[in-house]
């Protein structure tokens, strides 16, 4: 018999209790891992490394209000500006409402330059771009989205509008690859499809995406654009792409505070449950601990064994919880990645897994130490008296 075998056998003393505590740990670690990963994912939305030189110009009253497309001319005239792309969320689905994904009507002439990092321009040929520009009913889709739906270039994709009362039939002219899965869950089609199909949208757009030459010019440009349209019928709110995405995320509420609150509640709950379980388990073993010490096991040796039991128990629960969260992350990517593109990047990072593991081990140590220390400080004779 080795020490680990002794610890393991002691853990299995009450299989039901061990199973229940491991089960509660699995669920807790799973919950914390998923919530923390959600935070990481949302954080990456607002800290997209490709966003550094892009601005979003939208209506000051909110993203549901439109701006005149004529603003594009003024924006292009600014010396800091490289390209301007009108972009409107279309909100259509393919065949079934559950097949919802991100789709936009966008200015086909500037979309590639404005979002060149996302489109992975090096993998796109000039002929492919020309083919898309030529076909007014054409569209471009990311590879992940195409693979999910079994689409290939030349396929016709009927979209059913949910915001606008049109159902365009779009021909795939280009499938692009991107460095981030979230950027591949997107479809773009010609802006005029929206303008021609929805008369009220003629000459209007939800937002302009502006690419600047140098990021350091952004503050000056933001100030100038918003001052230019101040007190007009369509006042603008210009902000960095990161700030825009943050506002979008904030529509979900103060997610960060909610997630941190739930995480703290879960950690405290599991700490109390584990401490109570370990306390009961150790108290029940008072006579046995006395016998161990009578045989020559020092108090520190017994304390180490009990702590090792607690740590092994939570490590087991934490490892299973992390594995479960990893499996769930795949499900989240599949189920939500198309609807909300940033979920396509959802994963349990090694940093999150490590955080959960370290947190769980801390809970294990903390919840075991107090009852274990008390038990090993109890006089041997007192422990033996409670035998039988």
């Amino acid at each position: 018999m080795r020490w680990l075998a002794l610890i393991w056998k002691s853990l299995l003393r009450s299989r039901r209790r061990t199973l229940l505590i491991v089960g509660s740990l699995v669920l807790s670690v799973f919950t914390v891992a998923v919530l923390q990963s959600l935070l990481t994912t949302l954080d990456s939305v607002t800290n997209n490394p490709n966003s550094g030189n892009r601005l979003a110009v939208r209506h000051k009253s909110g993203i549901t209000q439109m701006l005149p497309r004529s603003y594009e001319t003024y924006l292009r005239q600014q010396p800091e500006v490289e390209t301007v792309c009108a972009l409107q969320w279309f909100g259509g689905y393919y065949q079934d409402p559950r097949n919802f994904f991100a789709n936009f009507a966008s200015d086909e002439t500037t979309i590639f330059q404005t979002f060149r990092e996302e489109f992975g321009l090096s993998s796109i040929t000039e002929a492919q771009v020309k083919e898309y520009l030529r076909d007014g009913a054409g569209c471009i889709v990311g590879e992940t989205l195409a693979l999910k739906n079994g689409w290939k270039v030349g396929d016709v994709v009927p979209l059913t509008g949910t915001i606008f009362p049109i159902n365009p039939r779009l021909t795939i002219r280009l499938i692009f690859k991107s460095s981030r899965p979230s950027d591949e869950n997107v479809m773009h089609f010609h802006y005029k499809v929206l303008e021609e199909g929805v008369p009220r949208m003629k000459g209007l757009t939800g937002a302009f995406w502006v690419r600047v030459h140098r990021p350091e010019d952004i503050p000056r440009l933001i100030d100038r654009v918003d001052r230019h349209y101040a007190n007009s019928a369509y006042e603008t709110l210009t902000e960095t792409e990161s700030a825009f995405n943050l506002a979008f995320v904030k529509m979900l509420g103060n997610i960060s505070a909610i997630i941190q609150g739930i995480t703290i509640a879960v950690v405290l709950a599991i700490l109390i449950v584990t401490a109570n379980t370990m306390g009961t388990a150790i108290r029940e073993r008072g006579p046995e601990i006395a016998v161990f010490r009578a045989m020559g096991f020092s108090a520190s040796r017994v304390l180490s064994l009990l702590l090792a039991e607690g740590v092994l128990l939570v490590a087991l629960g934490a490892a299973l919880g992390i594995l479960l969260a990893q499996a769930a992350a795949g499900g989240v990517r599949g189920a939500l990645g198309a609807v909300m593109p940033f979920f396509a990047d959802f994963e349990i990072t090694s940093a999150t897994a490590l955080l959960c593991l370290v947190g769980a081990l801390a809970v294990g140590l903390l919840s075991t130490f107090i009852p274990a220390y008390a038990a090993t400080r109890r006089p041997i004779t007192e422990g033996l008296r409670s035998v039988g």
Partner: protein
């Protein structure tokens, strides 16, 4: 020698108590349990500690076994002044010199008979093979080789106590202490266990100090020491 001092015959003493006192405190009230005990027990002795409940016999046994500390006096057991040892040294001393036999056997329920016997050897630094040999020897001595992979719940009370005895002797201690070792056994099993202890004393030279209420059990010992209200009352040599 005063009335509270006994010498159980010739031979090198393995246990020497000088003026041993032990009191417990209940808030501010001191409750004396042992008072000024002087006792020498020679190596190889088999001593039964007897007396009514509260006479201090288990307390005396605990002091001799190094699982409790006196409030007064000195005790030297197996060549060590126990008062001089700190808690960790005392634990190591117990592992090397003392084997325990309890009334309720106190086997670890999740370990097999073999693993229970192996427990004290985990502290010795012996390799796996050496440990296995010693465990096999101890189980053979108590005639339980065929039950070595059984768990305590699969053993009878007598078998459990024999496993406990194997565990007590596996480190080859000089001293065996037994607290009512037959208290939970029927007559037949009690006789077997006492016979085994007697063999350990006579054939292997183990010094045994046993607390018992049972006159039959006490009769297996070579000396009976009676305690009364915390003092040594009388010592009797058993004629067999």
């Amino acid at each position: 020698m005063n009335a509270n001092a006994f010498d159980l015959g010739e031979g090198e003493p393995i246990i020497t108590l000088r003026g041993i006192a032990k009191s417990y405190w209940r808030e501010t009230l001191e409750i004396p349990v042992l008072q000024g005990i002087d006792l020498e027990i020679p190596s190889g002795a088999f001593v039964a500690l007897m007396g009514p409940s509260g006479s201090g016999k288990t307390t005396l046994l605990n002091l001799v076994a190094g699982i409790d500390r006196p409030t007064g006096g000195t005790l030297e057991v197996c060549g060590h002044e126990l008062n001089d040892l700190d808690d960790d040294e005392l634990a190591a001393w117990r592992n090397a010199h003392v084997g325990f036999i309890f009334q309720n056997y106190n086997l670890v329920p999740v370990l097999t008979a073999f693993e229970n016997v192996e427990l004290p050897l985990l502290l010795t630094g012996l390799g796996r093979r050496a440990r296995r040999e010693l465990v096999a020897e101890a189980l053979d001595l108590v005639n339980l080789t065929d039950k070595q992979w059984n768990y305590p719940r699969q053993l009878s009370g007598g078998q459990e106590q024999r496993v406990a005895i194997a565990r007590a002797i596996v480190t080859d201690p000089d001293l065996l202490v037994a607290d009512e070792p037959t208290g939970a056994l029927d007559a037949k099993n009690a006789e077997e266990v006492l016979g085994l202890m007697s063999r350990l004393n006579t054939e292997m030279g183990k010094t045994i100090v046993m607390v018992t209420h049972d006159p039959k059990a006490a009769h297996q010992a070579r000396h009976q020491i009676h305690l009364e209200k915390g003092v040594l009352d009388r010592a009797v040599e058993v004629n067999r």
